[in-house]
């Protein structure tokens, strides 16, 4: 079965550089979530999109922005990178069920960002 695809899998950047992470959801999934997992930490929610509109926002720095495109893929743009941005960034997708229970979020393999 198709899974969530994230690219790149690994990314090394210098401080103050920019980075773009991409996420391709499972086919027919139109809801995308981004999470950040620091070293030894649990994943923290950053932002989500439903039908190309932002649906929720968590602890995402102002230096970060994201969007969802017409084909439902999403990109997380990170500017003025700091050492503390080094983390594993996960994308997850799900089918929305606005009138019912939260549907299962399926996670991609993650992008490991290292900021030097």
């Amino acid at each position: 079965a198709a899974g969530v695809i994230q690219s790149p899998r690994h990314l090394i950047k210098e401080k103050r550089e920019t980075a773009t992470l991409k996420c391709y959801p499972i086919p027919r999934h139109d809801t995308v979530y981004w999470y950040q997992q620091g070293p030894g930490q649990d994943p923290q929610f950053l932002i989500s999109f439903y039908e190309k509109m932002q649906s929720d926002k968590g602890s995402i720095p102002d230096r970060f922005s994201a969007q969802q495109f017409s084909d439902y893929h999403s990109e997380l743009n990170m500017s003025s990178l700091e050492l503390g941005d080094s983390a594993l960034y996960f994308c997850a997708s799900s089918l929305p069920r606005p009138s019912g229970r939260t549907d299962t979020q399926y996670f991609g393999p993650g992008t490991r960002l290292t900021v030097l």
Partner: protein
């Protein structure tokens, strides 16, 4: 606000013995609860989920969890541990009653399995 507390940061068992990973939740309404597993340097894999159907939920790889409202618990169990079960396990609650809610993760329990 929804939250989960994983009561043990590390659990160590011998291969072939039972596994118990404890999780308590806090929610103002009937929650959706999940267990995810993360193997070293890998992504997050769903083990099982509870969404108000049967209180005993069976997942993959022989894991199961029981939702106990009176105890606000959702403990993960497996009758017999295998070496391949060594990983980080996250108890997760969905934040909200709608259809597209962020997940709130517990701090994780690292399971070690010894020969």
């Amino acid at each position: 606000a929804q939250s989960v507390t994983q009561l043990d940061s590390h659990v160590s068992v011998s291969e072939g013995t039972p596994v118990l990973l404890r999780c308590n939740y806090s929610s103002s309404y009937s929650p959706s609860l999940f267990w995810y597993v993360q193997h070293p340097n890998k992504g997050l894999q769903l083990l099982l989920k509870y969404t108000s159907a049967a209180t005993l939920v069976k997942g993959i790889n022989g894991f199961e969890a029981e939702f106990k409202k009176s105890e606000t618990s959702f403990h993960l169990t497996k009758p017999s541990a295998h070496m391949s079960d060594a990983a980080e396990y996250f108890c997760v609650v969905s934040d909200g009653a709608g259809g597209y809610n962020k997940l709130i993760f517990g701090a994780g329990t690292r399971l070690a399995v010894h020969p």
